[in-house]
Each structure stands twice: as C-alpha cells, then as structure tokens.
C-alpha cells in the first residue's frame, strides 16, 4: 500500500506570531492577493530592519547618463553639489519583518517640482535586485523597481574582523557585477543626499490593467521622517546609523568588474567614469507607506502587440532553468 500523509497544521491557530489568513479577517486588512495565503501579509507592518549592513560604493556617473535614467517628466537630476556622485550599494539584511535577505541598488540624486511649485528632493532608484520574493513584492507595491538575483555580500577577516570585502551579483547565468578589496578607512565623499533629512526616496511605480489597455505611472515618495500613525509607534529618524561599525575604502583599494547582460541593462546604461570609494555601515531602518506625487496614464489601442513572435524564442528567452532557492 502506498504511504500518503497530510499534516494539516494551521500555524495561525498555534501562535499569534502567525496572522490568520486574510480570508478570516476584515477585508480592510487585505493588502495583496491571494486572500487564502498571500506572498506577504500584515505581519510585515510596520516594516522595520535591525543591524543591516549597508555597503555603498560611490561612483561617478556623467550628467547625460543620469538624466537618461531619471524619467523626465516628472523627474530632473540634481545639478547641485556632488551631483555626479551615485550610490551603488549592497545590503545584508539580517533581521527584517520580511525575513533575512540580500539586496542591491543604485541611487541617483533627483528632484520633482509639483504643480504648486514645491520642490521634492530624493534619491531615485533606477535599479534594484533582491534574493527574496516577499521583499521584492512588498517593495514593488511602493514602486521600487525590484527584480530577483543571486547576491553575495561578505565583510570579514583581518584584525578587526571586518577588514576585507567581497560582493557579487548574477542573474540568469550572467555575472552583472563583482567587487573585492580591503578597507583602508580613508575619507570618501558621499552622494549629496547622505544625512539630509529633507531628502527622501523616489520610485516610479507602473500599474498595468489586466487587459493591458493602459499603464499608470506613479511617482512615489518616501519621506525621511515617519508619518503620523507610525510616529506614535516608533521614535526618532527612520534611518538610524550605528557609527561604531562604519568602514571606508578609497577607490584605489577596490577591485571592480561590471558588465551589461542580455537580461539586465544596468552595465550598459550606468556609464561609470570613476569608482571613488566604498562606505559600509550598520543601521536600523523603518520603511513607511509612500505618497503618490505625480501620475500619468498611457493608453494602448486594442490592436496593441508587443515585441515577441508567437512560439519563436530568442536570446532573452533562453537561459539555464532555475529550480528556485
């Protein structure tokens, strides 16, 4: 006789650490589908992080490359001090409401002037990659441009136990970037938005209709300060650096390789002229809901067709099959 075993454990009935599925709750608490078992749920909120290690390469990128990556309208690239310094960063997230994960992103200083004349200043993310599905999706709800990739972050060794570093990222079999070296603790000039509480974060969200008849672009803004409801729960700035863990490396201490791939254009678009240094620090963080500052909808005709040819598979559709992590 065959062995068939079902273990119907309902963890949400055993511990309050696991929220009941949305279908058993008030509909106002349903954030994403499916109501039987969403990819992430309300136990993600408020979204906090403890003892993450941020490792930010500071790279110089020419004005035309930055302009191209910041969609205009509605954004303009920052043209003030250190405008050409772009943050090219990895993060090792150890404790988060979305579980542990590794992350990579690029941040460009940009501004948006609203119809009332208010100027919003923020770091804008053209590229982001993560190792976990839930943080990708939770971020995409806020507009983050997240994809999944294979990422490695190592800060280890030497007298201090954090003297050497190694970072790598690949996707669909191609290496996108790798950097190695040793911290020399020399001074590194950061991107302009570092430490400024009047600078938030920008993202461009795209919401496409199920029939593909239109896509709405939404410029979203995360302020540096926490909004009302969360301020009642959490005190202080939402980004708390622990300065005793900070290490730096000058450009001369960094070995670096980056390339474009058929699946990811960052290596072709981000025309880096200089790797000026690396700043690595440990921090706690809170991510609040985002404001929508600007929207525009692009309509497609019923006859709309994309780029592909039915049943003909090209370079972008061929890569090693993954079985997931």
């Amino acid at each position: 006789m065959p062995s068939h075993l079902n273990v119907p454990t309902k963890y949400w009935e055993l511990t309050k650490e696991v929220p009941p599925p949305p279908i058993e709750r008030d509909i106002k608490s349903w954030i994403i589908a499916n109501p039987s078992d969403p990819l992430w749920d309300i136990d993600v909120l408020p979204l906090t992080y403890t003892d993450s290690r941020w490792s930010a390469f500071v790279v110089r990128v020419p004005d035309d490359a930055r302009q191209r990556l910041c969609p205009n309208p509605p954004l303009k690239v920052w043209d003030g001090d250190n405008a050409d310094l772009v943050e090219f960063w990895y993060v090792d997230h150890k404790n988060t409401m979305l579980g542990p994960y590794l992350e990579f992103g690029v941040t460009i200083s940009a501004t948006y002037k609203d119809p009332k004349g208010n100027v919003w200043k923020a770091g804008y993310y053209p590229y982001m990659y993560l190792t976990g599905d839930a943080p990708v999706d939770a971020g995409r709800v806020l507009g983050f441009p997240k994809k999944m990739s294979y990422i490695r972050c190592s800060v280890h060794g030497g007298e201090k136990g954090t003297d050497f570093f190694g970072y790598a990222m690949s996707r669909n079999g191609y290496l996108m970037h790798s950097a190695t070296g040793k911290f020399d603790d020399k001074e590194v000039t950061p991107p302009f938005f570092y430490g400024k509480t009047d600078w938030g974060k920008f993202n461009m969200k795209v919401v496409t209709r199920p029939d593909v008849s239109s896509s709405e672009w939404q410029l979203t803004y995360l302020p540096s300060e926490l909004p009302g409801e969360m301020k009642k729960m959490i005190s202080g700035h939402r980004f708390q650096i622990k300065p005793e863990h900070t290490r730096t490396a000058s450009g001369d201490a960094i070995n670096w390789f980056m390339q474009a791939t058929p699946f990811d254009n960052m290596g072709a678009e981000l025309k880096i002229t200089e790797v000026t240094g690396l700043i690595s620090f440990v921090f706690d963080l809170v991510i609040p809901p985002a404001q929508v500052l600007w929207t525009e909808t692009y309509e497609r005709p019923a006859s709309y067709r994309g780029y592909a040819t039915p049943y003909k598979y090209g370079l972008r559709q061929q890569f090693p099959i993954s079985q997931g992590s």
Binding site: N6, K10, V18, D37, G132, Q323
Partner: protein, 323 residues
C-alpha cells in the same frame, strides 16, 4: 591601485536579439517597473509556451475547507482539485518550474453573465519574471519556491515532485505510471467554455485603498491567433497513474505557506501528465470592488511590533539560484 573594468557594450541590441532599450521607447511599450529595465518587458507579448510538461495530481479535499478559503464573489463547483506541477522549457519568460492548485468555480459577474473557470488559490514558481508577469497585471497568486519535478527511467515511467520554501517542505510525491484511467477528473478539463480566474488586489502606495478584481482568461484563442483552444495538448504524450500508483505523498502546512493546513488531501485520485503548447492572452475584469482605508483603519494593517522579530521573520537566508 585597484583593478577596475566596466564593459559597456551591448551587442545583442544591434542584432535585434533584444528589444530596444526601455528608455529609448515610447512609454506605451513599458508594461512594468523599473522603467529603466523592467522585471518583465514587452518582449513577452504575445505570451506563448511550447512543449511544456504538465503533471497534474487529481485530489479531493473537504468541500467546506475549500469554500472557506474562497473570497466573494467566487463560488465553488465541487471537491475535485487539480494539484499540478509544470516544467516550462520554452516560454517568452524563459524556462521555469511551476506549481499550482486549481478549483472548479463560477462567478456571477457584473455584466450579468455566469463565468465558469478554474480558480487558483495557490501558485509557486522558480523565477522572478513569470512571478510578476502573472501577479501584477492578472492577479495570479504567485510566490517563489524551490521546485523539482521530473520523469525518468525506462520510457520515463517514474515521476517525482518536490517543493520547498524557507526550509519547510510543502509537498512531495513520487511513483510510477500505470496508464490506467482515473476515477475522477477536474470539471473544467477539456471544456472550452471554462476559462481561468484570479483574484487580484492592487494596493495604493499610501495604503489608502485596495482595488479587488476578479480577472478572467477565456479558453478560446485570442483574435489573430486562429481558432480553437488556447491550450493545445499533444494526445500522444499523455501518461496516467492511479492513487495506488503514487507510492509516496507528503503535504504539510508551514508557518509561511498555508496550503497544506487549509486543504489537506482527503483522497489522492491519481496523476495525469501531458505535453502542451499554450498562449496566455490579456485578461478581462469581470468583478471589482474598492476598499477604502481611513487613518483609523491603519491599525488593522500594523500587526507587528517594531524591531521585534517573530518566527515568521526568521528563516534561512535565501540564496536564490536564478543567478
């Protein structure tokens, strides 16, 4: 001096192997974020599949338990469930592994019609692009998981499936095909008046509202693609196994994934496997509802204690093998 190189060339572009770069296109050709380099792009349209291998367990579960996990306005048809794995070899989204559960269901829609369809409460995939290409526009309930599903041995007589996520095994099964008929099949099998349904929720970035939609994919081929069913099965490829041929079956609820706790199998009826081609057209919205949240409602969605991490936040660091 550090050794440094940036390779900016993009030879695939000049040869037309990849679409024009997103930032060189009109915005109507951007269907997903990031707008500089989307997670799925317009070279997935039309979304076709060639020679995918579908391996569908047929199971029965408690009908009351099934009804319990279905939201309004979806109505359950019966207790027969399709519990399926797929090896996708050639798709506009690249190759990937997939697992899903399909209930037979109906919806009395806003246009006065009753729509009949397979409804998906759970889906898992191995790759990012097909997850968000299914999830964002259409509402497929996709998550990422480790999935192994294959046939092997003489005449590919043996099969094995395994799915794990965050260190917990959700399901595994293996056995040998006998090619005997099954005592039951899902209601929607082979019927062109039965489509597919999903429940999509789109939440505003400021969480002030969520739009709930039931989306519907018809079974018939979309205009411009001929006539007939959009799911083209190769009849020579069909293999079957009865419940007794499935030598091992294990399924469990986990702290991260509720399927095993919500719909444990009462009976494993058998397995039907086949090779097919497929096209997925745009979806129609047949029901919608907007749920507004005021400032006072935010307490309902702030379930956790800041900086306090629970068992749901503790699991192995995913390393993600798509690299």
């Amino acid at each position: 001096m550090g050794l440094q190189a940036n390779e900016y060339s993009y030879p695939w572009l000049a040869e037309g192997e990849v679409p024009p770069l997103p930032l060189d296109r009109d915005r109507i050709h951007i269907i997903s974020q990031g707008v500089a380099d989307p997670v799925f792009d317009y070279d997935i349209i039309p979304l076709t599949y060639t020679e995918s291998r579908w391996m569908a367990f047929v199971i029965r579960a408690d009908e009351k338990a099934m009804k319990h996990i279905i939201p309004e306005p979806i109505q359950l048809q019966d207790d027969v469930i399709e519990f399926w794995y797929v090896i996708h070899k050639n798709t506009m989204l690249g190759p990937y592994m997939e697992m899903g559960v399909t209930f037979s269901a109906t919806v009395d829609a806003e246009d006065g019609q009753t729509y009949k369809a397979g409804y998906y409460p759970y889906m898992y995939l191995s790759n990012d692009s097909p997850i968000w290409a299914g999830k964002e526009p259409f509402g497929f309930p996709k998550k990422a998981a480790y999935i192994a599903a294959f046939e092997h041995g003489t005449n590919n007589n043996y099969f094995n499936m395994l799915m794990e996520r965050r260190g917990y095994v959700l399901h595994t099964a293996n056995g040998r095909y006998s090619d005997k008929p099954l005592s039951a099949r899902p209601t929607f099998y082979g019927k062109t008046d039965w489509g597919r349904m999903n429940y999509r929720i789109t939440t505003r970035p400021d969480v002030s509202n969520s739009i709930h939609e039931v989306t519907y994919l018809p079974s018939e081929l979309p205009p411009g693609f001929g006539t007939g069913h959009r799911f083209q099965l190769n009849p020579d490829s069909v293999r079957t196994a009865t419940g007794d041929d499935i030598r091992a079956w294990y399924m469990s609820g986990t702290p991260f994934d509720f399927m095993g706790g919500q719909i444990p199998a009462k009976e494993v009826v058998g397995l039907i496997s086949f090779t097919f081609n497929l096209i997925i057209p745009p979806a129609k919205t047949i029901w919608s509802k907007t749920v507004e949240r005021g400032e006072g409602d935010l307490g309902q969605v702030l379930y956790s204690t800041p900086f306090k991490y629970t068992m749901r936040h503790r699991f192995l660091l995913p390393q993600y093998s798509q690299g």
